[in-house]
């Protein structure tokens, strides 16, 4: 029986993450990333790993981790979303970790678990399970090719899908290696910055090949889609809370804004959707944690639903804050940028609806 609530362990973890973020992260830190983006400060991510051990949540026990603690990872993501925290948790501790776990890697996982290294799956942030394709090829001089729009690629080891005529292979490549260039790009959401990664004759050996490699990438992207929903939930909640507070505090026409029905009804509708988002996000996390047969459906449902709700929450926040929402000074724009980028990450809602139609047998028009 699926459990959609939060247990005591999860609530305690949430409190710890929230306390750390309160202490170590301000909106000004995130805004600074838009003006002086590189290199990104690594202290916050390190503190989350060192003090709370969150990077080990999805690492198998055999590699020094905690096992499949996807429900806990989801709670961490809710808090990171609530603060648009600029840490590579989703990309490294969820997606790359799931990929390495699926291929039975023992070289990198212990280091990821301990927080000594981070990793990035070298595919575009918008790639999603079962339709992604590898663009890097092995040639005589080594790996050749380019992958555009990779998230959190600048700091950790790159897990690179490589295509030959008959198979996919996974390579682990140091971004500092000869022939690798990682070019940061200005991103819509600088709290999860993208980079273009080019390979020009990089010497490397595959860590896994064939169907297993293909499945590992699918599994990693499915996990990313499933748990991103929790980040989107936390983000949407911040937007609702912030808007409610503003409507309570601000007076116009001699009344608090929140007493106007036209405004309060919009927030009631948003609460309806956020409440449903929580059920959907918890279901996706629980499916992942229990290795459910329904995980692919749950992950696509999560992105089809929660991504749209988060964008709407951020857009409502900007609109109902009025002029202050358009300023650089108020942090609302950080949430709008993250929400919109998240909507495309791991597949758009429309792509996931198409995928869901296949999974639940609602055939498309011929």
């Amino acid at each position: 029986m699926t459990d959609l609530l939060y247990n005591d362990t999860e609530i305690a973890l949430r409190d710890s993450v929230r306390a750390m973020l309160d202490k170590r992260l301000t909106a000004a830190d995130i805004m600074a990333l838009y003006d002086a983006p590189y290199p990104r400060p690594a202290q916050l991510g390190a503190a989350l790993s060192d003090e709370l051990g969150v990077s080990a949540l999805l690492v198998p026990e055999s590699a020094g981790g905690h096992g499949t603690r996807a429900r806990e990872a989801a709670v961490v993501l809710e808090e990171l979303g609530r603060r648009v925290a600029p840490v590579p948790f989703l990309t490294s501790a969820v997606v790359a970790t799931r990929c390495l776990t699926a291929v039975g890697d023992m070289a990198w996982l212990p280091r990821l678990a301990g927080g000594e290294a981070t990793a990035a799956l070298c595919v575009p942030l918008v790639a999603y399970a079962s339709t992604w394709s590898a663009t890097v090829r092995p040639e005589r001089a080594g790996l050749v090719g380019e992958v555009r729009g990779v998230a959190d690629a600048a700091t950790g080891v790159l897990i690179v899908p490589v295509r030959t005529d008959d198979a996919v292979h996974l390579h682990a490549v140091d971004p500092g290696a000869d022939g690798v260039s990682v070019t940061p790009v200005l991103s819509l959401d600088m709290s999860r910055p993208l980079a273009d990664v080019a390979f020009d004759g990089v010497q490397s050996r595959p860590i896994r090949s064939g169907v297993e490699a293909q499945r590992a990438v699918d599994d990693a992207l499915t996990a990313g889609a499933a748990l991103l929903a929790s980040e989107q939930l936390g983000l949407a909640e911040w937007c609702l809370d912030t808007t409610v507070k503003h409507l309570r505090d601000r007076y116009q026409f001699g009344r608090p804004l929140g007493s106007f029905q036209a405004l309060k009804h919009r927030l009631a509708d948003l609460l309806v959707d956020i409440t449903a988002s929580r059920a959907v996000a918890r279901y996706a996390a629980d499916c992942l944690a229990t290795n459910s047969d329904d995980t692919a459906v749950a992950a696509s449902l999560a992105q089809a639903y929660c991504a749209t709700v988060a964008v709407r929450a951020a857009e409502e926040c900007i609109q109902l804050l009025g002029g202050i929402g358009m300023t650089w000074e108020h942090p609302a724009h950080l949430y709008l940028k993250r929400a919109k980028a998240d909507q495309l990450a791991f597949g758009t809602p429309a792509l996931h609806r198409t995928r869901l139609a296949e999974l639940v047998d609602v055939p498309a028009a011929c």
């Binding site: 929140g258 106007f260 029905q261 309060k264 009804h265 059920a279 959907v280 449902l301 055939p363 498309a364």
Partner: protein, 395 residues
Amino acid sequence: MSTTTKEELRHRADALLAAHPPHSTTPQEFLAARFDAGLAWVHYPAGLGGLGLPRAWQTDVDAWLEAAGAAPYQQRRNPIGLGMAAPTILRFGTPDQQRRFLRPLWLGEEIWCQLFSEPGAGSDLAAVATRAVRDGDTWRVTGQKVWTSNAQHAQFAILLARTDPDVPKHQGLTYFVCDMRAPGVDVRPLRQLTGEAEFNEVFLDDVPVPDGYRLGAVGEGWRVAMATLNNERVSIGGDPLSRSGGMIGVVVGEWRARPELRTAELHDRLMQSWVAAEAHRLTGLRLRQQLASGQPGPEGATMKLGFARLTQALSGLEIELLGSDGLRYDDWSPQRPEVVDFNGRGPGYRYLRAKGNSIEGGTSEILRTVIAERVLGLPAEPRTDKNTPWKDVPR
């Protein structure tokens, strides 16, 4: 009293089953014996069908009795009686009233209906204009009530009436039990846009109501009515709806069976509804888990809004999907259905009946205001009628 253990409760159930074996007792006799044994609703007091035990224990009793061959208790027979009248009588009724009304109510021998809404008092329920005027030990009630389901079967009604028009609207109301067979009660079917008549209009013309049928003090009617409405039960029993159940299951079934109707645009709209339906189903599942574990949450308040939006979108899509066949209607005759069954009727019925989902039991607009003020804590809208004598409020 609360020293009863679950084991002792089990013994009680076994004793009932031994004295009244379900296979050789008529269902009605069994129900009566069950009520008298305190196993009807165990959270009610002893002597009134219960034992003063935790409400959750009723689930165990139901399971034991059914396992022994007793017919499941039919909540549906008396929904207003069980869901609204009984808890109000328990809280506000005198001992005499409790003894008089609760047993036949639970046994389904006396069906109840609700005389609250009026043509001039819908969302603004406290504006009711039906007058009750005191005449010795009797009240004389005159007015018009509307949207009354089960009135044609009902023996009794819970009634909200105005006893003092000279004070602000919330202060001049009194709550009564009304005998639906009394002289001056006229029940007329109210035909809806679907063709059927689920509800009634009830005309009250100088209807005598004994003062002994008053629930709560004179002028306390609003407080009593709020207690009644707060008892609107969230259905937590039964199996959670499956993914292929409900209206989405019907429409997806049609989609699979009729490939010639498919277009890309309809496909994406259908999948949007599929996603919304599944999100709604999981929200309901989470609500059940919260209630079972005693954790409060906003799910109860938000479920109805989500449901109305979903059924309306889906039933509209279904007609478009079916094309010419969507323009055929199954039955315009003025049926008197006992329960609303979306899936037992055609797409036109579903489309029309779903319009009521955002109106009945609190409109979506009122619910949004309630959610905004009670869940989100936003300030109330200024109101002009709150301190004005009812007779002076424009209407």
